[in-house]
Amino acid sequence: MKILVPVKRVIDYNVKARVRADGSGVDLSNVKMSMNPFDEIAVEEAIRLKERGAASEVIVVSVGVRQAAETLRTALAMGADRAILVVAADDVHQDIEPLAVAKILKAVVDQEQPRLVIAGKQAIDNDMNATGQMLAALLGWGQATFASKLEVEGEVARVTREVDGGLQTIEVRLPAIVTADLRLNEPRYASLPNIMKAKKKPLEEKTAADLGVDVSPRLEVVGVREPEGRSAGIKVGSVDELVTKLKEAGVI
């Protein structure tokens, strides 16, 4: 069984995003970029399935600018077998919408025929939480989002999902899409020898046009602004003072 894992190159989660002065977006020049943390979890899960003998090959795919090749190398160093880069933009500030990403991923799925796609639940830049679900719809596959546990057995995947109210366990028929939540696993770090080895693993490059997908956006970004700021208040010296202040504010 092949597993396909889409990985996105995003602003590093430790970096606080800054809005550009002209309001056109967030400044991504000279900012540290990394693999979307949820996608590290997705890659880790795929590798573990392979290590357990439940999968034969782990293919990682990224859609975006050419620099996303670095992100793919990271996934290869973690243990993925090969990578596909779909170049769909040439400016780092140009992002591709989940619907277009999902259409590109569908074309890749049609070619590669994986039985399972493990995506991240959301990308931490645009926080859309959409791509996996959209891909499932386009393929007509079942979906198990926000996974905190995944077992593959024969023709089904059994998935525990993080939902409002607690946890839910479902069984979804393969082929299927799973999206990874934070507690699915703790991703490994790539070791130096594996980083060296990853340089020799295959990385195939395609374009969105090769796959016949139109990536023109449906949502036009009219503007981006800073949120309303919030400034520090006061320090209180004791619990008594705190309780008095909260009573004055009418909140207790």
Binding site: D127, Q133, G233, L246
Partner: protein, 308 residues
Amino acid sequence: MAVLLLGEVTNGVLNRDATAKAVKAVAPLGEVTVLCAGASARDAAAEAASIAGVAKVLVAEDARYGHRLAEPTAALLASLAGEYEHIAAPATTDAKNVMPRVAAMLDVMVIPEVSKVIDAATFERPVYAGNAIQTVRSRDARKVLTIRTASFEAAGPGGSAPVAEATPAADPALSQWLGDEVAASDRPELTSARRVVSGGRALGSKEQFALIEALADKLGAAVGASRAAVDSGYAPNDWQVGQTGKVVAPELYVAVGISGAIQHLAGMKDSKVIVAINKDEEAPIFQIADYGLVGDLFQLVPEMTGKV
């Protein structure tokens, strides 16, 4: 123009707060029809009909809609989409599961976590953990949105909308429900509570996390947690507040032993009054707290519980 709104129904019960907030958000877009789907959904439909501003309620009562599975509900929404320009839902985990699927079935983009409606095609939404607010204009003829409930007031009572049956759509039968692990609680629900007390990694264990619960119960508050507290097993997953957990905006938010990482702030910085209790006076949480108390939580929290 007309709006189809998916009501939040869990085990036959309408989440009135989340649904009423979404009604308030979409009301300027046109006549609102609320769809209540579930294995039992009639009571929920009757309740939805009483929300002010609801013009009509559709009820789809069928076992296939019983367990929050995405595929049957998405198929139902897509089959009903016909006459509606907007299809919306409160941004709960169920809607986040279903709505992108609906959008792709209709070949349109989903517009998630809308925090402000500007006009029929233009919406604001937070991105980058709330460090930027994006305004997007949709070019799609039909708009599929989820509503960030923390950004809207709830529509009031006093509605009396007619309730009609919706025909169930074919079930693609791609997934199957096996079980739920849901903890019953008498506490207010996190996203609608007027007060929230949250604990972080500093609590150190599940047993000690009870200090947070005791303070919350004394205040009639819901309990929240940082990711670190959930990852460490001190608190269940659905208590996580933040960029990738729940977004809350209560009147009072008390953060105890939480450092204030941007991912946590993304979920609570719109709260009206923020209190931080932390032993490190340099902790970033103090930069957004209205009232900061520096000290050991193991001493301060029980003291506070005794005094409120």
